[in-house]
């Protein structure tokens, strides 16, 4: 894969990841709110 493209994908991906986490926390979508207590036993 082209090195420049790889660099662009990395930084764009990182920015998207950080934005998703921030939005997730702001709208209460973060995973600390859920419990999966033995539901799949």
């Amino acid at each position: 894969m082209n090195k420049n493209l790889q660099t662009i994908i990395f930084f764009v991906g990182l920015a998207i990841g950080i934005v998703l986490i921030i939005i997730g926390i702001v709208i209460g979508n973060d995973i600390s709110n859920i419990r999966l207590e033995g539901s799949d036993l």
Partner: protein, 277 residues
């Protein structure tokens, strides 16, 4: 040789301490008789780890993904977690942390006749991810992958049924044995099938089935942690012999199925780098 021994030793240590012991360290279960449901259970580890295991402290990322699919919510935080971890280390958690990977590595050492796995079966994990983890839970609201997961059977289903203590809150057994039916036995059969396969082939679950591996595989080629075959490579194919994923190296070094275990790195013609280029 010394370098290879050291890295393999540290990898086994990491798999055992971080992947197996620390993520499954809820010893209070012996007296409480119910699984840990404190704040740490709200966080997932970057590998399969059944949240219903009696000793589990953290949740399973695939369990969480199914939860969001089944409740028809968009898991923004979880997507962000996948993207960031994937971009930094790719599939390294499969090689360095996953306890199911450790089990497969150990079982493959048993001396029996060994079989290869056709490369095209590697696409199976993407089908499992899309069908059992996303589409079916979205439509049926049931966590289908967890219902069939052999790791879940091994670390949660069997231990709970075998132990089945009296729940002090309800003064009744934790597992109602009358509810055990077809799905439980199917899960056991799937587990037995995989245990036999683990002895005969190298890391078959990681290569063919694991939806967590499928997610990390997407990021493998663009992750910060990279392996590079030097131009001085003599095509001795020692890297292929060492590779636990049986990748046709050196061509496929650092491909989507590479678990970044550094086993190929014992050859001086393959270097590991932690940078963008």
């Amino acid at each position: 040789m010394l370098k290879k021994f050291n890295l393999l030793f540290y990898r086994r240590l990491s798999q055992t301490i971080f992947g197996l012991l620390l993520t499954n360290s809820y010893l209070q279960i012996i007296t409480s008789k119910s699984i840990y449901s404190g704040p740490l259970k709200g966080f997932c580890v970057p590998f399969l780890n059944c949240h219903a295991c009696p000793f589990a402290v953290f949740s399973c990322p695939i369990g969480m993904l199914q939860y969001y699919a089944a409740t028809q919510q968009l898991p923004l935080f979880l997507f962000g977690f996948f993207i960031i971890v994937g971009l930094i280390v790719g599939r390294a958690a499969c090689g360095w942390l996953c306890p199911f990977g450790l089990l497969q590595d150990i079982m493959y050492k048993l001396k029996t006749r060994k079989f290869g796995i056709p490369q095209h079966l590697n696409y199976g994990k993407y089908v499992i991810l899309i069908v059992l983890v996303i589409i079916l839970p979205l439509i049926t609201h049931i966590h289908w992958f967890s219902r069939l997961c052999p790791l879940g059977a091994l670390t949660a289903g069997i231990p709970w049924v075998a132990w089945n203590p009296i729940d002090p809150d309800f003064d009744a057994p934790v597992v109602d044995l009358e509810t055990i039916g077809f799905m439980y036995y199917l899960k056991i059969i799937i587990l037995i099938f995989f245990l036999v396969w683990f002895v005969m082939a190298q890391r078959p679950f990681c290569r063919v089935i694991c939806p967590m591996g499928a997610i990390w595989a997407i990021f493998n080629r663009v992750s910060l942690l990279k392996f590079k075959v030097e131009q001085s490579c003599l095509n001795c194919e020692q890297c292929e012999v060492n590779c636990p994923m049986e990748l046709p190296t050196p061509e496929k070094v650092d491909s989507e199925n590479c678990i970044k275990c550094f086993d190929c790195n014992s050859c001086k013609h393959i270097s590991a780098k932690f940078n963008l280029r």
